[in-house]
């Protein structure tokens, strides 16, 4: 076995289960013996992505592939797409509804945090079709 692959299906519109997939990933990384600080980076990034999928895209699918060198995450959704990635990457910018904000989400920190906690992030998006975010967290401590 050269890598460990796992897929999580994210339910849309249900905040009560948002975060479950990143919690599961955390357990996987712990049982593989990944460094706690690295685990934290990967799970925060994935948590933010997971929340975004619930808020904006009615859920989606997250594929994670773990090797001794890196944690590779693919987040795919069939949501509305991101019209302006640069604007979406601005801290504090959010298109979340008031309802969502009342629940304590939608602070406009999702994408910036995902970038902050990962070593590589690439967003591919198409209006009306969906968004794919690829993230890599290196597992070496340097």
């Amino acid at each position: 076995m050269n890598s460990f692959k796992v897929q999580y299906t994210i339910d849309g519109e249900d905040f009560s289960v948002a975060g479950e997939a990143s919690r599961k990933l955390k357990k996987v990384l712990q049982s593989l013996g990944v460094d706690p600080q690295i685990i934290r980076k990967a799970t925060v990034a994935m948590y933010e992505g997971e929340i975004n999928m619930v808020i904006h895209a009615d859920g989606g699918v997250i594929d994670a592939e773990i090797t001794p060198e890196k944690i590779h995450l693919f987040l795919r959704d069939k949501g509305p797409g991101i019209p302006d990635i640069a604007l979406a990457m601005t801290e504090g910018f959010s298109t979340a509804s008031d309802n969502v904000r009342e629940l304590g989400f939608g602070a406009g920190m999702g994408l910036p945090n995902m970038e902050k906690y990962t070593d590589y992030m690439n967003i591919t998006t198409e209006i009306g079709v969906g968004t794919t975010i690829e993230m890599i967290v290196n597992t070496s401590l340097s």
Binding site: G19, S31, G33, T43, P68, G104
Partner: protein, 425 residues
Amino acid sequence: MDKIIHSVTLDTDKCKGCTNCIKMCPTQAIRVRKNKAKIIKELCIDCGECIRVCPYHAKKAVTDSFDMINNYKYKIALPAPAFYGQFDKATKIESILHALIKAGFDDVFEVAYAAQLITKRTKELIASGELETPIINSACPAVVNLISTKYPSLLNNVIPLISPMNLAAIMARKIAEEKTPYKGSEIGIFFITPCAAKATCTKFPLGLPESVIDGAFSFKDMYLKVVPHLNDKECEQDLSKAGFKGVCWANCGGEVVSLELDNYIAVDGIHNVIHVLEEIENDKLSDVEYVEALACTGGCVGGPLAVENNFVAQTRVKKMAKTARGNGEAPEFDMDLVWQTPIKIRKQRNLDDDMFVAMEKLAKIDEIYDRLPKLDCGSCGSPSCRALAEDIVRGYSKESDCIIKFKEKIALFANEMLDGSDNVE
């Protein structure tokens, strides 16, 4: 690996092998094997949830025998502030301290008084901006154990100061050596503890190279020794020094009150603490300045070794804090309170040190889990089907430990027998 010592232990004679404790343990540290509970030492955080939940009182916190005070010439009691809330006959702190003297001690030193100095140093540390936010308190050893076991990435958020209990012991010893002719091993210092985690800390203190306390007696054990001597009217000695800011540490939220903070979360109950730590790990609470997290509901008044109902005790302590004699200012004491030894991250329970082997084991766990009924009934002795799958892969259990799988097997076997008998006819 360092040996991990716990106060929480099992009385195997009393254990019936039921599954109450395995289901309630916040770190899934208990299994039932051969009809007896077994504690996985690497995972136990000494929170005492199992002591609370065991219907047969088979889970115990090991504390010391009161007789041991006779080995010392000068005996000092260190009551935790939560102890003040245990007595319906006492309305004054002074009468409880007085009763402790009558019960056999030569002097008392209030942990609440030492807490006032910890409060001051904590304030200074918060102001220095050196710690990662939210800052997490370190007064509850079960919470610190939880962090070093399950949330090691948050250790940098924890206040690196010794506990009020240990500071009280160090101060009490110094004062005794100055005002009495006794020295060193002639002086015995005894903490009166609400919980298992602090009892462990008297032997293996967090942040100190060695123990500074000679023994720990539980609230339960001391209760009966103190009650006969309680008398609110006859307290000629002036023993009480602690003020509001120290005494209120007994309740959850007391620490932040004495720190005079506005932007904080005060959370009690180990399962609630876990939720808050998860939030911190997910970076959701970075705008919060301080988290006071205590393992027991209500704070130390809710300790598993307490006698009184924690809500009753909370109210009593609140009243007593308001009428406490001291002014609440930090006592003068020249000592660096910062941890002398860092808190170690407990070895994470990975499946294998070789990540490729660990991956194979993880795949195997998923495969076994798929076959299990997912009822999480606990009858197999593991806390959940997922935990059983992991225990099987780790070599501690087998699939037939699952009662449902076992039943299926028997049914299959019985059917085969029936088919066989048909053929005979």
